[in-house]
């Protein structure tokens, strides 16, 4: 069997996957939960947000039901690879998607709340599995009403 043929076939399939990813229409959903700093510390101690964000999300939803946490915002943006959409609201989101492996999406993303000295933000580059929520980080508002709370930020890309 021709080794050159096999190599070309593998390279072609990889390139096709990358090109397909570049044209894809993406929906990026950011979900922000708020809980007291103490509750959040306990949650972060007891669960691994890195390896098991789904369990943490379920726990957060239970806390929301029992009014020990709340959903602050759920902004959604639509974009394609290479574009830089922005959204302003309770939280501001800026992001840029770049090509990644099939089934995954690379994101350069900033999530912010407040202005100037009062600003709290996360700035990071991460890779997410399509359709699976990923914990992005925390925000901690400095305004009086939000001072004792931590906001937990999750991102999901479809």
């Amino acid at each position: 069997m021709n080794l050159r043929f096999v190599f070309t076939a593998v390279l072609l399939s990889f390139t096709t996957a990358v090109v397909h990813a570049k044209d894809k229409d993406l929906t990026v959903r950011v979900t922000v939960f708020a809980a007291t700093k103490d509750t959040t510390a306990t949650l972060l101690d007891d669960y691994s947000l890195a390896s098991d964000p789904t369990t943490v999300l379920q726990k957060l939803k239970q806390l929301v039901s029992s009014r020990q946490a709340e959903v602050v915002a759920s902004p959604v943006l639509r974009t394609t690879v290479g574009k830089r959409p922005k959204l302003e609201g309770e939280v501001a989101v800026e992001l840029e998607a770049s090509p990644s492996e099939a089934g995954r999406q690379n994101l350069l993303i900033a999530v912010m709340h407040g202005k100037g000295d009062q600003e709290t933000k996360i700035v990071t580059e991460t890779e997410v599995k399509l359709g699976v929520s990923k914990f992005l980080g925390t925000l901690e508002p400095k305004d009086t009403s939000g001072r004792d709370r931590t906001w937990l930020v999750f991102v999901q890309v479809h």
Partner: protein
């Protein structure tokens, strides 16, 4: 020399699988407790602080429950290895994580707090094991008096 096609395809597939399985994401969590100066001094003098930080954290959790201390910040950010990860909250944390082979990481982290023109800050260069919480350091307000708290910091890389 003829090489079986199945061997070539298996080797190529193994290569892709290994690259995909490699964990390129980390979560950096910095937990900051605010503790009255006298109590903080006693905790910081403990020989267990570096060897058994969980013991100190348990003590702090008890103090938080008794309202003798508080959780000031749960700054978290997840992102790719090798990138600058920023979580700006009550404290600003900027971290860069390298490595990951056999669960050990090299972490460079800077933590500071903006306080009306003053900026107590901490810079650390550590080797950390994935999932293990380490004592990061302590900070005091440079213009603070006896009644201002000490901030005790712990870091976890997941």
């Amino acid at each position: 020399m003829k090489t079986p096609l199945s061997f070539i395809l298996a080797f190529t597939l193994l290569g892709f699988m290994t690259a995909h399985a490699a964990d390129k994401s980390v979560l950096v969590r910095t937990c900051v407790y605010s503790v009255p100066k006298a109590a903080a001094a006693a905790l910081l003098a403990s020989p267990n602080l570096h060897t058994e930080p969980q013991s100190t954290i348990r003590t702090l959790r008890g103090m938080v429950a008794e309202k003798k201390a508080s959780v000031v910040s749960n700054a978290c950010v997840s992102g790719k290895l090798g990138n600058n990860l920023v979580a700006q909250a009550e404290f600003r944390c900027e971290a860069r994580v390298e490595g990951g082979a056999d669960g050990m990481f090299k972490l460079v982290i800077a933590v500071d707090k903006f306080l009306l023109g003053r900026k107590p800050h901490l810079l650390a260069d550590l080797t950390v094991r994935r999932g293990e919480t380490q004592f990061l350091g302590s900070l005091d307000d440079p213009a603070g008096g006896a009644n201002t708290p000490t901030w005790i910091l712990f870091v976890t890389v997941q």
